[in-house]
């Protein structure tokens, strides 16, 4: 099956609405894109369209949450984290309100709409906000689990979702379980570790397969929670394998790669950390797959980074 994480989110949000009457949803004229349309149709009394006014939407979400609701506030990632950054920071995160800031259409895989709509710094922005949990699920199964988990978490959270359909990856992982802040060991390996989030998890697993054929044993960690980061899993990777490669559909500045590098450096573990991501540039219009290739976000790029990290380039 191939389902976008936004579609999985929209379906699971509706299920959540059935189970919990305290769930209230806001959207900014993108219900058919963020997939809040399922919830809106089922629970019109708990759904509010803010119109194309994201700043006010975040403020309304904060006020709603102050009365004890679990609020999901939705837009494209570039708007929910960028356009409304100050509202997320001051009205939601500073008072620790229970608002889930949802950003769909994150990353290059937005595709043809181009750079204005391709959030490549949203994780960096949200990760730097005190108290904010940051979750980047990889596929349908993980997205549904993430929605359930963040609904149980009391406090602000950023959920990053994609537009493009992505293959199921996590449901075939042996013993898969989703726990916020806990990396999933997607593949065991002894030589290097690939730490991936979002749609790059699939690329990471494909890279591990390619490397295996070359005699390189690559561990793969599914780091769906960027904050709080699973420091123990990173330190284990840095002590048990000889190189770390991070893979994210995001700028190499401020996201998963930065977070991993911080942990490795602070622990004084001298393994190389190579970051696969966009190299501090804006995106471009084009088909998603072409963009991912052009910006170096494929399994081949991840595999090449592992070889480089092991000195086999």
């Amino acid at each position: 099956m191939s389902v976008s994480t936004r579609e999985a989110y929209g379906r699971e949000l509706c299920e959540l609405g059935k189970a919990r009457r305290d769930v209230v949803v806001f959207d900014a004229d993108l219900t058919i894109c963020t997939m809040t349309m399922y919830f809106a149709a089922e629970f019109p009394e708990r759904f509010f369209n803010a119109g194309i006014a994201e700043a006010n939407m975040m403020g309304m979400a904060a006020g709603m949450a102050s009365t004890g609701k679990t609020v999901f506030a939705n837009s494209f990632a570039v708007f929910s984290t960028g356009r409304a950054y100050d509202q997320v920071r001051n009205s939601i995160a500073y008072p620790g309100l229970n608002v889930k800031v949802v950003g769909t259409h994150a990353g290059l895989s937005v595709g043809e709409d181009g750079a204005t709509h391709q959030a490549l710094e949203d994780v960096a922005l949200m990760r730097a906000v005190p108290g904010m949990t940051v979750v980047v699920p990889a596929d349908e199964n993980e997205t549904r689990a993430a929605v359930r988990a963040i609904a149980e978490l009391h406090g602000p959270c950023y959920l990053r979702l994609g537009r493009a359909k992505v293959d199921d990856v996590t449901d075939s992982l042996p013993g898969y379980g989703f726990e916020l802040g806990k990396a999933v060991l997607a593949r065991e390996g002894a030589d290097a570790t690939i730490i991936a989030a979002g749609l790059m998890l699939q690329a990471a697993l494909q890279a591990a397969d390619q490397l295996h054929a070359e005699g390189i044993s690559a561990r793969v960690l599914d780091m769906h929670t960027i904050k709080p980061l699973d420091n123990a899993a990173v330190i284990a990777a840095a002590t048990q394998t000889r190189a770390i490669v991070t893979a994210e559909e995001h700028n190499v500045i401020g996201g998963l790669g930065s977070a991993v590098a911080e942990v490795v450096a602070e622990a004084g573990l001298g393994v190389p950390v190579l970051r696969v991501g966009t190299k501090d540039v804006f995106g471009h219009s084009g088909p998603a797959a072409d963009l991912l290739r052009a910006y170096g976000l494929t399994a081949e790029h991840v595999a090449a980074a592992v070889r480089a990290g092991l000195g086999r380039a």
Binding site: E45, G51, G59, M60, A62, Q87, N90, S91
Partner: protein, 272 residues
């Protein structure tokens, strides 16, 4: 109770807080204190013994820098111990420079980044609808603050959702940091703008307690959110501060503080 005297006691408390901290916003606190006094002593259904009552009315200080007015009023209403006020803005105090909801009972929203409080108030007013509760939500905006575009996003939403349980005061003291609001970036006509967004509007003297009472009593009658444009005087009650932009955030020296207290105490004495 003598509400006018209470308002002047509030002015005294505002001065004491700023003198103790040697920082803070006097002008816009003195312009707003009459509105806050009427709301907290006659209008709002709030109880310091049950600050989390789901059915309580809410007040959001959208102009979040006016904490001297809010905290002194909350103290007079029993939400904040009076002894805590002199530590406002200090490292060991929960009373921060701008309004902070997590540590102070009675503060309904953390504010300070201008333009955001009205949106939160709209969210609260919608929550009353979701929960089938009859509470009302009040917000106090600055007239400089309404230069923020988010205010008009919120105004549009409140009008669209016909939030008759929402009342927004505009503290129209006509001054902001850089001078007259009309000169910096004119928000006028204020009432007509809110009316165009689907609000019921009244324009009053923001220091006339009866006018404040009457405007609140008439709020929501049209089934719309209500904007009360309250013409006020920045620095009201201290002669040298009145209508002087400098006293937005400046702190008087000791002699000027003595003069300010003398003027306010004289007024309090007259009202005894």
């Amino acid at each position: 109770m003598n509400l006018e005297k209470q308002a002047w006691l509030g002015r005294r408390s505002i001065l004491e807080m700023v003198r103790a901290s040697q920082s803070g916003h006097l002008g816009g606190s003195l312009s707003a204190i009459d509105i806050l006094t009427v709301l907290y002593f006659e209008v709002l259904n709030v109880d310091p013994a049950h600050p989390d009552d789901p059915a309580r009315d809410r007040f959001v200080l959208s102009k979040g820098h006016a904490t001297p007015a809010l905290y002194s009023t909350l103290s007079a209403r029993g939400f904040i111990p009076e002894a805590d006020l002199p530590r406002w803005r200090q490292l060991d105090s929960d009373l921060s420079g701008h309004a902070e909801m997590t540590k102070i009972p009675g503060v309904e929203m953390s504010t300070g980044s201008l333009g955001q409080g009205l949106s939160a108030a709209v969210g609260m007013a919608l929550a009353a609808r979701v929960d089938g509760l009859g509470y009302r939500v009040f917000a106090l905006l600055g007239d400089g603050e309404i230069q923020e575009g988010q205010i008009w996003e919120a105004a549009m939403a409140a009008g669209h959702y016909k939030l008759a349980n929402l009342v927004a005061f505009v503290d129209n003291n006509d001054l902001q940091i850089d001078g007259c609001v009309a000169d910096v970036l004119s928000p006028y006509p204020i009432g007509a703008k809110f009316a165009a967004f689907g609000w019921q509007v009244s324009e009053i003297d923001g220091h006339d307690l009866d006018a404040i009472r009457q405007a609140v009593a008439a709020a929501g009658a049209d089934g719309k959110p209500t904007a009360i444009v309250a013409k006020t005087v920045k620095g009201k009650g201290v002669s040298f501060m009145e209508n002087v932009a400098k006293w937005h955030g400046s702190v008087p020296d000791a002699d000027l503080f003595d003069q300010a207290f003398a003027e306010v105490d004289s007024k309090i004495g007259e009202l005894a």
